[in-house]
């Protein structure tokens, strides 16, 4: 058991893992921001009265929620070069995580938008507001409340999925821990990485739980 807590190996592993934390955070924040924004844009596009566009968005959303993120990442990283698209490990991971999050976020925003009753649209439009103003001033403020807990949970899942980037050699926390583990033949770096992940995500998991109690879904 002591080998897991070998202080010497923890000392060797800490500097690379610390630099890995920055990459984990950068990848997480970039893909959460891009994925949420893209999902929001898609859900708004789905409200437009263009049936084909809405159908295409539904297909996208279903396909990318069905697809394991790691499979998407591996395809982007190892297959795209054959089409002349060379993505760095970081870029491929960012793209995979953002595409997957966008699919879930679209569905969450859409559920929020459709939860607002039809009468709210009619009432707002009847006051002379434009469609855009109705959406912005009446519908969205009510819709967003419902989207907060599931969106938080999806964002946390995306943050945790940054560990997948280790598979395409991005030097984030897990990747750094695995290479130190190989060098030192000790499981201690992996345990240190586990501690780092728990420190990063346990508060967020508790926050997600609290939000679910605070804004219960109807």
């Amino acid at each position: 058991m002591g080998i897991f807590f070998d202080p010497e190996v923890w000392g060797i592993a800490w500097p690379p893992i610390r630099s890995g934390i920055l990459i984990t955070l950068a990848l997480a924040l970039a893909s959460i921001a891009a994925g949420t924004a893209a999902g929001f844009a898609l859900s708004l596009a789905r409200t437009l009265p263009v049936r084909r566009l809405a159908a295409a968005i539904v297909v996208y959303s279903d396909a990318f929620r069905a697809f394991p993120p790691l499979v998407l990442l591996v395809v982007l990283y190892f297959a795209a070069p054959f089409a002349g698209i060379e993505l760095s490990g970081f870029a491929a991971s960012f793209l995979a995580l953002a595409l997957v999050l966008a699919a879930s976020a679209e569905e969450i925003f859409w559920a929020g938008l459709t939860s607002v009753r039809r009468g709210q649209w009619e009432a707002a439009l009847s006051t002379g507001m434009s469609r855009a103003a109705t959406l912005r001033r009446v519908i969205l403020p009510q819709a967003v409340r419902l989207t907060i807990p599931p969106l938080t949970n999806r964002a946390i899942a995306t943050g945790k999925n940054t560990a997948l980037a280790s598979v395409v050699a991005v030097p984030e926390v897990l990747n750094q821990a695995a290479s130190i583990q190989a060098q030192t033949a000790s499981p201690a770096p992996l345990l240190l990485a586990a501690v780092v992940y728990v420190a990063l995500f346990l508060p967020l998991v508790r926050l997600g739980r609290w939000l679910e109690d605070r804004f219960p879904s109807p």
């Binding site: 058991m1 080998i3 897991f4 279903d62 396909a63 929620r65 069905a66 697809f67 394991p68 993120p69 790691l70 499979v71 998407l72 591996v74 395809v75 190892f78 297959a79 054959f82 089409a83 879930s104 569905e107 969450i108 599931p150 969106l151 949970n153 999806r154 946390i156 899942a157 945790k160 999925n161 940054t162 560990a163 997948l164 280790s166 598979v167 897990l174 695995a178 583990q181 000790s186 499981p187 992996l190 345990l191 990485a193 586990a194 992940y197 728990v198 990063l200 995500f201 346990l202 967020l204 998991v205 508790r206 997600g208 739980r209 679910e212 879904s217």
Partner: protein, 223 residues
């Protein structure tokens, strides 16, 4: 256009790698068959234990579940598969992967079932007890059937997530569908096996996603 087909949907390469991919698909199915029922069983045990436990134990269980949920599944997998040998335990690779993924997914199943049990009015417990049913009998015949029905959409959503998790097995060198596709790609220096694997994943998982959508499941799970 022809060259894109030759590169990504090369029939010859796909045919030659079909045997390898099929073997990988079987391993992926084996992992799913171990992890999904295993996760449901452990999750149900957690949820029922929490429902009859004193408050302090209930709180301890909820922290334990959150601790597991704070781990990226891949980190849990690597820690268990590469860590167990240092404790003198060397389970076969398939078993190591199954244990890690079951631990992960059981935390989510447990949380969903706990919410289901909490959705049943406390008076039902008392009414059922007053008919002479034992506590396990109350759970089995009265509480759980209703609880499961109330959270069926979330259970379906988590089953989709659990099935998607199986692809992680490739990262610890289990010869599953994704791993075999990578090997075949290396042999042929052509990405068609990867494309074929992606199509196979979609073939299995898309219908499941459709079921989840139809029964109104949130595909947005509790964390």
């Amino acid at each position: 256009m022809a060259s894109i087909f030759e590169t990504f949907l090369n029939g010859e390469v796909m045919l030659e790698s079909a045997g390898l991919l099929l073997r990988g698909l079987l391993v992926t199915l084996e992992v799913s068959v171990l992890v999904i029922p295993g996760g449901i069983a452990v999750g149900a045990a957690l949820a029922t234990a929490a429902s009859v436990a004193p408050p302090w134990l209930d709180r301890a269980l909820s922290w334990g579940v959150d601790l597991v949920r704070a781990f990226p599944p891949l980190v849990l997998l690597v820690l268990i598969v590469h860590g167990l040998p240092f404790l003198g335990l060397e389970p076969p690779p398939l078993l190591g992967v199954a244990i890690a993924l079951t631990v992960n997914t059981a935390a989510y199943y447990g949380e969903i079932l706990r919410a289901g049990i909490a959705s049943i009015d406390r008076a039902q417990w008392e009414a059922a007890r007053s008919t002479g049913l034992s506590t396990p009998g109350v759970l089995r015949f009265v509480i759980l059937p209703q609880a499961v029905r109330n959270v069926l959409p979330d259970l379906a959503g988590n089953t989709l997530e659990a099935a998607k998790l199986t692809a992680l097995a490739s990262a610890v060198a289990l010869p599953d569908l994704l791993r075999m596709a990578r090997i075949a790609q290396g042999v042929h220096f052509n990405p068609s096996p990867l494309v074929l694997a992606a199509i196979l994943y979609l073939l299995f998982l898309w219908p499941l996603a459709g079921v989840v959508r139809r029964i109104g499941g949130r595909t947005t799970l509790p964390v």
